[in-house]
Amino acid sequence: MSVPRYWRNIPQRVRMEALKCKSCGKIIYPPRAKCIYCGKNDFECYTIPEKGRLISFSIIRHPPIGFEHTTPYVVGIIEFENGLRISSQITDVDINELKIGMEVEQVFRKVSEDGKSGIIQYAIKFRPIFQNI
């Protein structure tokens, strides 16, 4: 990912900022220029909840370039109380303990590095819930 693109995506990747369409009320994540449901472009900021449920996952053993040394890793779909679903890496999880329906929560992690001299890209991932507070 280019440096400008990473920088532009910081609010959505690092603070999980989505858009809520003022016209139809749907939540758009990742943010888009127009609402993907009604086509309007009048939004307010919406922060994705910290906790959700894992509703599907894949264990990646044959990764794309740049992720070769991180296998096996898990990519999942998380559903939130309001019905919103997003995809994310699931971290700090023993792959033998993965379960559909398990509670997960946000955690700030490193996603990739552009080599030894490039930038480090951070984003929110999800992990099994640490503690119910």
Binding site: R15, D94, I120
Partner: protein, 352 residues
Amino acid sequence: MRPIIDVVISGWGSYIPIYRLPVEEVARIWGTSADHIKQELLIYEKSVAGIDEDVATIAVEAAKNSLKRSKINPNELGAVFVGTETKPYAVKPTGTIVAEAIGATPKILAADFEFACKAGTECLQCCIALVGSNMIKYGMAIGADVAEGAPADPLEYSAGSGGTAIIVGSKNYEKEPVALLEGSVSYVTDTPDFWRRPKESYPSHAEAFTGDPAYFRHTISAAKLLMEELGLRPSDFKYAIFHQPNGKFPLKAAKILGFTREQVEHGFIVPYIGNLYSGSSMTGFSAILDIAMPGDRILLVSYGSGAGSDAFSFIVQDGIITKRDNAPKVMDYIKKKRKIDYAIYCKIRGKI
């Protein structure tokens, strides 16, 4: 040192990675005696940062936990300082990564501090100064490291990962103060006991020179100076925390100063997670805040090679009761662990 305006702790939070490398695993690789190491260092296992963790990720998680307790709006922070000796970038501040992640940008001062293991409490001193001079409303001081010792070096048994964030504010603004600062001192000299040159991956140390002229001279002097300035004795404190490079040093320093084992044991975390470097004394302090009661007096003494110590005295306030359970405690993190072997350790720390 005392600020012009009374400074209080508004919130605190720690983060310790889930992975643990037992002393037995390191001893198995290098053919040493795990029992001997445990006896010498009083360390049983160390926390290890995951493959997707570094000082920035640890600092952000600790910062978020401190905000959950403080309950302030991140925009009220006037400074975010990260003390570490394992910055993800040689040039580019970790402080801006943290400030952005917690939603505290852009009207904020952000920087990284380095003073070996006392960089975190340096951040605390500076936040106290900024709040105490009314330049900012709240300041966040973070001490965090993903410490590593060279393979087969004694530090490989002890160098752990983790960190703590402390939010300080003015007593005039903070409605639920956690602890009131009574005073602090800093005591530094040019003592080359431990160092890391540019482009080197692992630190070097001067073996036994790290003891008397370095750790003990500075921690004991700083603690004595502070108690003299405040007119206090060891028996006036309910708890005391000293930097924990291993288990023996802090216990010996406490004994020399006249503190009992009971005063130091609640913040004594090194046997279970190792030396968190810049996060060490601050995470011990965090463990004390997790259990302290209003009226308790706490002594915090850091140590950083090179060398120096910061010492602080705090008196716990009523706000600690309502804020304590809003974030995971240090013991929660210590208990939630997954043991790894040396091969996985090498993989997740990029050694292979």
